[in-house]
Amino acid sequence: MIAHAIFFYTFSIIAVVSAIMVTASKNTVHSVFFLILDFISISCLFIMIGAEFLGMIMLIVYVGAVAVLFLFVVMMLNVAQQKNQWFAGQQSSKHIPVGLIISTLIFVEVIIVIGGWKYKPEIFDINNSIAQTSISNTHSLGQILYTDYIHVFQISGMILLVAMVGAIVLTFRERSGVKRQSYIKQISRERAEGVEVLEVESNKGVKLDD
């Protein structure tokens, strides 16, 4: 258990410190790097409590895809103006009360959920049914997700699809005058449309209509 505790406190301290650094660092790119560190340590914590599937999915989806796109956008913002400072200055301190209120709210919510789980376990019977079975984490997740919660699962998938299509529709603009490669056109080109053999009289030239 000592090794377990050592690993737990290492990962959780890294997670908390990097979460603070996300907001405290001046440079936005540094913030995103700390966010990535936070995601990675959280997924390590997931793996430690036996939720290896969630941990890996967290790594793949958040770190491997979402954070890359974050970084992509943030790096594009203003490369020249970014200062190599590690901490934010004094001027940003007026936002602290708002942040404190929100974080207190979230903290209270988490306390309520964990307290309910701890002292009234019969409310959360789903959680207990997972813990009692001997099959692996991935199997039990699939068995619940694709049977009891299939409709919720499908609806959340549809919502994501609609959001994606909506984002594409909002940003898509048909631009005219852009030269675009059409593979079918290129492949189906015949010699006759590309090359024309002409008899050119000397000193007359030839007029091509194009």
Binding site: I2, A3, V29, F33, I36, E52, F53, M56, I57, L59, I60, V63, G64, A65, V68, L69, L71, F72, M75, M76, V79, N84, S136, N137, T138, Q181
Partner: protein, 332 residues
Amino acid sequence: MEYLGIFFQEVYKILFLIVPVLVSVAMIVWLDRRVWAFVQKRQGPNVVGPFGLLQSLADALKYIFKEIIIPSSSNKVIFILAPIVTMTLALIAWAVIPFSATQVLADINVGILYLFAVSSLGVYGIIMGGWASNSKYPFLGAIRSAAQMVSYEVSIGVIIINVLLCVGSLNLNDIVIAQQNMWFVIPLFPMFVIFFISALAETNRPPFDLPEAEAELVAGYQTEYSGMMYAMFWLGEYANILLMCAMGAILFLGGWMSPIDVYPFTLVPSAIWLILKILFLFILFALVKAIVPRYRYDQLMRLGWKVFLPFSLIWVVLTASYLFYFNLLPVN
């Protein structure tokens, strides 16, 4: 005391895995250059040692004695971290590769997801290096590579789903054992081809080496790197290529299993079979590098999103329907 014993045992196991991987990375750099040279009717590196086998050692020595230059306007911490991240990520993935039914460092339940996660983290080394250099060409290279690797990861993920449908487990040893009767390369051959091409794109190999295109980006994210830090990027890249080959061998070519289950073949240790399969895939990688010209960037994106992704998604539906209709779904 007890923990110390376990600790040293694990360290011994890890060293026993990492040292051969590093040595073979050095060797395949030589192999890559040799194959490349033979295709072009050259000799390639053949001076240092027998057949030039020690060329990579000579190169490593050269890199060690070169000065490490850190640009004054760079972001120093991230600049130094970037090659270390690349190298570390390329090495930690080997923890789950099974060399036989028992010879595996960590036989975890979600082995294939771990491999996929680690290979999707590989992009960070490149982005960090490109951004921290604070220079135009590395930055352009990093942005190109970020877009490229994220795009091709999607199709690799869908291809993995194809294999998982046939196996019914995320464990790498289970995936190998499921191919006992038939390697997945036969029923899923189109997926194998797409996996191979996506692996080329994922590891920034030619014809998809746009992040480091010498002609237009002066080696992309590596421009500002020198000496040992450049060598680490380089080693990490080749370790990633080896890893992708190992992944292909495990997913499609039966991993550590011998091709036919009869007497003289079963004598060969299973690790040898895996190494031979990895080498086969790597020589294919090297041949592709030698014979295919570089893609244009828009063609690369089109191939990833408009060709590979829909095709592999359709193949998922086909595989699932086939397995369901003939009642072949692996249920355990």
